[in-house]
Symmetry: C2
Subunit: 345 residues, 2 copies
C-alpha cells in the first residue's frame, strides 16, 4: 500500500508536470542522401533526428534512414513529393534536375559565407522563394544546416595557370561544374565512395568533394598531393530537411515550432563544428605529405568571369533562376556595404 | 498489488498514447538586463521566452522581465545566484566585478567573429571554462545568442591620429574601455538611456554603444556626426541565459534539451538578423548627414598594442583570466591557419 501510494503520488506529479505538452505522435522516416558516417554531411542529419526524439521524449520520431534504405539517395525528392516517405535529409543542390534555381539554395560560386547566406534566407526573401519553388512538388523544406567553406579540390599535379586546367578530367558538383567546363575541364559527378578508385585508376585527374575534415576521411591524399584553396565554388553550403507538404501541414503548431527550432539550432551547431575541425585536418594532411596551395589570383579571376557567364546562361534558361539570383544579388549588394565597414579583416 | 499493476498499466498507456512528452511545468522569471524594446539585445531574450512557451505548449514558462521589474538589471547576477530569481538574460561582460575572466565570454577586442567565437565555446574548451567560473556562484549559464560586429563609436569631431583621442571623454563598455584609457581617453560606463543626454550636454565627447541598427534608435546621430568602424572592441558579442544551478539541475532531460536547443537556435537567429539589418541602418544614417569613417590603420595598430598590454595586466591579476585567454588564443592560432586558406576574402 505504501508503494501504491508512492506510485500514485508519482503519477499525480507527472500529471501536474503537464502532460498537455502533447506533440503530435509521429513516426516518420527521413531518407538521407548521405551516409550517417559522413562527417557533418551525414552526422548533422542524425543530430536533428536525435534532438527531436530527446526533446519530445520519443513522441516526434523522424528516423534517419541510410541512403538506399527506403529509396536510393537521389530518388528522395520524388519519394517525399509523393508521400512515399515523409521526409528526407539532403541538399537542394541535388535537385537541379527539377529546377536549376535550387542550386542557388545549396552553394553559390563566389557566393556568401554562412552568416550572410543564412541572413538572406531568413530576412532577404530567400525563404519565400525556396517555399515557392518547392510548393508545386508538394514539398515543404527547411534550411537545416550550413557548413563552412569547402576546399577547392585535389589535383595530381600543380596548377599554375589557367592552361594547366585545360583537358583535366575532374569530379565536380553543382554550379561549379559548369564553371569548370568553361575552363576546359571535363567534369563528371561521382558519388563519394566512387571517387577514390577513379582517382587511383586515373579515370579522373582531380576531384573536389568537401572540407578538409571530410576529404581526409575519404583518403584522396594518398593519390593526389596538391590540395587547392579557397573553395570558390562553395564558400558555404546549405542542407535541408525536406517534408511532404501534407504531412507538414497536418502537424500542430508546437510540433512545427519544435522542428523549426531544431533545424535552426542545427545551423549554429554545424557551423561551429565545421569551423572547429578543419585546422586539425589540414595539419594531418600536411603530415601526410600534402601540399596546401592557394589559387593564383589570375586563376580565381578567370573562374569568376566564367561563373558570371554561367549565371547569364542559367538566367536565360529558367525564370526561377533569374528571380532567385536577383534576390540574392540585391541582398549581397547591401550586405557588402556593411561588411566593408563592420568587419576588422 | 493489483492496483499497483493497474496504475503501472495506466502509466504505460499514457506513454503509448503519447501525451508523455511531459516537460517540467515551470514558471520562471527571467530578469533581463536589457529592455525588451532594444533591438537584438532585448528582443533576442523575448524570442527565447516565446519559443519555449510555444514549443512546450505553455509548460515551460521563462518570463522575460524588464530591467528593474524584479531586481535592478545589474543585480541579476546575485539574484540568480541566491535563487531569488530563477533566471536572467544578460551578457557575461556585465559581471567582470565578479570575475574579470567573464569579459572574455562577452566580446574580445581584436577577437573572433561570431562563427569562430561560437566554435571555441562549443569545441575549443570555452564552455567548460565558462561552467567552471560560474559554478562557485551556483549559476548555470548557456550562451544563448551572438551578434554581429558593433560599431566603434560616435565622435563629435574627426579622429585622424592617436593624438586626437587624448583627453576625450567617452562612454565605453568592457575590456575596450581599458584599452581606451591607455590611449588617454577618459572612459565611463553609462546605461543606454543616459548616453544621449550626456552627449548632447557635452558631459561626454564620444560614445560607443552597439551596432548601427541599434545605435540609430538611440539617436546619437543627432549630436555626433562622425561614426567610426570597425568595432575592434566587439567583433561579436555573446548573450547568455543564466539560471540558478539548483533550478537547472532539477529539470528533466527533455526540458534541459529543450532549453539548450532553443538557445542554440537563438545563436543562428540572432546572427542572421544582425547581419541583415545593418546596411539599411547605415544608409539611413548617411541620409541624416552622418559620415561613416574607417579607422586609420595606424590608430588600429596603436589600439591593438594597448590591448595586448591590457591582456598582460589582466592575466597577472586573475588566474582565471589567464586560463581563459590561453584557451582562446590556442584555438585562434589553429583557426587562423584554416581561415587563411579556406575563405575567399
Amino acid at each position: 500500500m505504501k508503494k501504491l501510494l508512492a506510485i500514485s503520488a508519482f503519477t499525480a506529479s507527472v500529471a501536474l508536470a503537464g502532460q498537455a505538452a502533447a506533440f503530435d505522435k509521429i513516426n516518420w522516416d527521413m531518407q538521407s542522401t548521405y551516409a550517417s558516417s559522413l562527417t557533418q554531411l551525414g552526422t548533422l542529419g542524425k543530430v536533428i533526428s536525435e534532438r527531436l526524439d530527446k526533446i519530445s521524449d520519443g513522441q516526434v520520431q523522424v528516423k534517419f534512414q541510410e541512403p538506399g534504405a527506403i529509396v536510393p539517395a537521389l530518388e528522395a525528392f520524388d519519394a517525399v513529393s509523393s508521400g512515399a516517405v515523409q521526409a528526407a535529409w539532403s541538399t537542394p543542390g541535388y535537385w537541379t534536375g527539377k529546377d536549376t534555381a535550387l542550386a542557388l539554395f545549396a552553394a553559390v560560386p563566389f557566393g556568401p559565407s554562412a552568416g550572410e547566406y543564412y541572413a538572406w534566407i531568413k530576412y532577404g526573401g530567400g525563404k519565400e522563394l525556396y517555399d515557392e519553388i518547392y510548393a508545386p512538388y508538394n514539398i515543404k523544406a527547411l534550411v537545416c544546416a550550413v557548413i563552412a567553406p569547402e576546399a577547392s579540390g585535389w589535383f595530381k599535379k600543380e596548377i599554375n595557370s589557367v592552361d594547366d586546367l585545360k583537358g583535366l578530367k575532374m569530379r565536380f558538383f553543382g554550379l561549379g561544374a559548369k564553371v569548370m567546363e568553361k575552363m576546359g575541364v571535363s567534369t563528371q559527378l561521382l558519388a563519394g565512395g566512387d571517387i577514390f578508385p577513379a582517382l587511383e585508376l586515373g579515370t579522373i585527374d582531380a576531384t573536389e568533394f568537401s572540407m578538409p575534415a571530410i576529404d581526409q576521411k575519404l583518403g584522396f591524399y594518398q593519390v593526389a598531393k596538391h590540395y587547392y584553396f579557397p573553395g570558390w565554388h562553395q564558400q558555404s553550403t546549405f542542407f535541408e530537411l525536406m517534408m511532404n507538404k501534407d504531412e507538414w501541414e497536418g502537424l500542430g503548431d508546437d510540433t512545427k515550432a519544435l522542428i523549426e527550432t531544431v533545424c535552426e539550432a542545427n545551423v549554429a551547431y554545424g557551423l561551429a563544428e565545421g569551423e572547429a575541425i578543419q585546422f586539425k585536418a589540414l595539419q594531418d594532411l600536411k603530415n601526410e605529405g600534402v601540399t596546401i596551395h592557394k589559387w593564383d589570383p589570375a586563376i580565381l579571376d578567370a573562374l569568376k568571369a566564367a561563373w558570371l557567364e554561367v549565371v547569364e546562361e542559367e538566367k536565360a534558361n529558367n525564370e526561377n533562376f533569374a528571380k532567385v539570383w536577383e534576390s540574392l544579388s540585391k541582398f549581397r549588394e547591401g550586405y557588402a556595404e556593411w561588411k566593408a565597414v563592420g568587419y576588422l579583416e
